[in-house]
């Protein structure tokens, strides 16, 4: 028998059913909550990261200030990008656990991929 994964398209609901799920209040709620996390998180990341090359490029005096011993602000700022990245990742993991619970409550006859039923 062929790999069943290849057949999954046969289990798809029809177009109207997708539209129906998309219009459901539960799905709207999921999307709103995702947007409420992802949009600000991504924008913050974008601004925080792009500030690094912009400040290094256009405010070299400021960035060459020594903040810890001989460490320049530029180097500390660059290192802080790693911390910020990890923190965003951690927060997203927490937030997305909530999204996963909302997905389980969707009005649908299609199996969730983690085989919930």
């Amino acid at each position: 028998m062929n790999p069943p994964a290849e057949r999954s398209s046969q289990n798809f609901p029809d177009q109207p059913e997708w539209d129906c799920i998309a219009a459901s209040s539960q799905f709207q709620d999921l999307m709103d909550r995702k947007k409420a996390f992802i949009l600000p998180a991504f924008l913050f990341f974008l601004v925080y990261y792009l500030l690094l090359p912009i400040l290094i490029g256009y405010a070299p005096k400021l960035m060459s200030t020594r903040v810890f011993g001989t460490l320049s602000l530029a180097y500390v700022f660059a290192l802080s990008q790693f911390i910020v990245g990890w923190v965003i990742a951690g927060l997203y993991l927490r937030a997305s656990a909530r999204f996963d619970r909302l997905i389980k409550d969707l009005p649908t006859k299609v199996d969730a991929p983690d085989g919930g039923s």
Binding site: P3, S9, D19, F27, A41, Y49, P53, I56, F82
Partner: protein
């Protein structure tokens, strides 16, 4: 030299063992192209890190830091933060709506043939740049390592190419994934050991270490300079430096999320939740690795010195030279063997994503309208194209030899991905109105603009000062038409603009009608491709 060979042969033997094991398990296309979608979160995180921490990272970025201090470190920062884009925007929708390639996501609600043809083309273009970067790194390593061993550069490169073909042709994605996992572990261990050796050299007093990095002495045009390597400005100088830097950052945050060989990894896990966790695993590994590269690179600048690096193998050799200075020939051998294993693994990862895209996107869906005439045809085509890609890689490596910095070359591949692939992927995930004309325009313009600008940039155009050795650094001996090394600042907006204008100029009701379906699937995983074994159990 024998230790280096022993480590390397050990790696080769274990990878061949894995390939044999994987070939026994590989049944069916889903197993061959996506490792049966059974890779766990940490495994895929290691594999993604393995794919991303290439020779460009280990050899290239360490070298850039060793010669240019903080400005080189910015490459490492960019490489890490790029995974925030992947985590928040791309990984889960991709896993939920696709099957084997990034072309799947684009073709979901658009007309598949033109979109897939272009997606395959830009996949191959991106991978070509990456492949050249790996081969340049390999060339430099071989030149350093095998200087007195009787093994020529051409023999070594051919050997690497053939090994990589064996992995991909017989082992498929499962073997490639495990090779990446082993390699990521080796590379991280190696970086950790080097970091500890550097700190040990400064008696585990960070203050002493950083104080030394503030006065690195080296020669430039016969002048002795003493520079602070924790300050910016060694690489990015006015007038274009600041713009170049912003351009580079843009290429990283958009480009990594468009790298075909990174994206295919998210098809190897069972679901979006695992894909998400695997990105976080990758971020832990890649982040700590890149923080260590700053210690290693600065260590090389202080302990080995830029003068010695330039005269003993060039920027790419900074890490291995540091290993030699701190740990002797034994450690040099170990580090070089790991670096070589890195190249082998990354080239295998590049090859399988290129051949998957060619077989699945181009052969099956563009030429044969998505109908497999014989069972297993796609796999056969993929295996044949893996052989072709391997052959091309060998030829390129032999033609190039050790040339420019591997880190910079890989960044060019990133720029192509940022300008062509990323706008199309992002807009197809988030914009209801997006349509085929937009995707085709975005991919084509992004591809042409990035490659065209790269060819007109100082990477390829420039006037070399006459030198005694007669070496030529620029392909075209003329003043560069485009002043920046990193062209993303212009080519990424052009890619987006073309995609948006192309969309607005045409109407495609079927694409908009299918957006609800796409949106629900992308965000919930309903109806997504399953893991092979799990589905069998149902």
């Amino acid at each position: 030299m024998s230790i280096s060979l022993a480590v390397f042969l050990g790696f080769v033997a274990s990878t061949l063992g894995i390939t044999y094991w994987a070939s026994k398990r590989s049944r069916g296309a889903s197993a061959y192209f996506a490792a049966g979608r059974q890779i766990t979160a940490w495994q895929n995180g290691f594999a993604v890190a393995g794919d991303f921490m290439s020779a460009a990272s280990f050899l290239g970025i360490v070298g850039l830091i060793a010669l240019q201090g903080l400005d080189g470190f910015l490459y490492a920062v960019g490489g890490f933060v790029a995974f925030v884009t992947i985590l928040l925007l791309v990984a889960e929708p991709l896993r939920n709506t696709g099957k084997y390639t990034m072309g799947d996501v684009l073709a979901y609600r658009l007309r598949p043939r033109p979109v897939r043809a272009l997606a395959a083309l830009s996949t191959l273009a991106t991978i070509l740049f990456y492949m050249i970067a790996q081969m340049v790194g390999a060339g430099a390593l071989v030149a350093l390592l095998l200087a007195n061993s009787g093994i020529s550069y051409n023999m070594a490169v051919t050997g690497v190419g053939i090994l990589m073909m064996v992995y991909v042709v017989f082992g498929g994605m499962l073997a490639t994934t495990w090779i990446q996992i082993i390699k990521a572990t080796l590379l991280s261990a190696c970086a950790l050991a080097l970091t500890i050796l550097v700190l040990d050299h400064f008696h585990f007093r960070p203050g002493e270490f950083f104080a030394a990095t503030c006065r690195v002495a080296y020669h430039q045009k016969d002048q002795l300079l003493v520079r602070d390597f924790l300050q910016s400005g060694l690489r990015y100088k006015p007038p274009y430096g600041p713009l170049d830097l912003i351009s580079l950052s843009l290429a990283f945050i958009c480009g990594t999320a468009g790298l075909p060989h990174v994206l295919v990894k998210f098809y190897t896990v069972p679901d979006a939740k695992t894909a998400r966790k695997s990105v976080v695993w990758a971020m832990i590994l890649i982040g700590s690795f890149y923080v260590m590269t700053s210690v290693i690179g600065l260590g090389a600048a202080v302990v080995v010195g830029p003068d010695h690096i330039v005269t003993h193998g060039g920027t790419n050799m900074s890490g291995p030279l540091l290993a030699q200075a701190l740990g002797g020939d034994v450690f040099l051998a170990l580090v070089s063997a790991v670096a070589f294993a890195t190249i082998l693994a990354v080239v295998a990862g590049l090859t399988i994503s290129a051949s998957t895209s060619f077989a699945h996107d181009f052969w099956m869906n563009v030429i044969h309208h998505g109908v497999e005439r014989k069972s297993g045809e796609t796999m056969l085509v993929a295996r044949i194209s893996a052989l072709a890609v391997g052959a091309v890689a060998i030829i390129i490596a032999i033609a190039l030899g050790p040339a420019s910095n591997a880190g910079i070359l890989a960044t060019l591949g990133m720029t192509v991905a940022a300008s062509a692939n990323f706008p199309a992927i992002a807009l197809s995930i988030f914009w209801r109105r997006f349509n085929t004309a937009g995707a085709v325009a975005g991919l084509a313009v992004g591809l042409l603009a990035s490659i065209g600008l790269i060819l007109a940039s100082p990477n390829f155009m420039g006037i070399d000062p006459p030198s005694a050795t007669g070496t030529v650094h620029h392909l075209v001996q003329a003043k560069a038409w485009f002043p920046l090394e990193n062209v993303g600042i212009l080519s990424v907006p052009l890619g987006f603009l073309a995609a948006i204008v192309g969309t607005l100029l045409s109407h495609e009701p079927s694409s908009e009608a299918k957006f609800n379906e796409f949106l629900v699937r992308a965000n919930t995983g309903l109806g997504a491709e399953r893991a092979v074994e799990r589905a069998v159990a149902h």
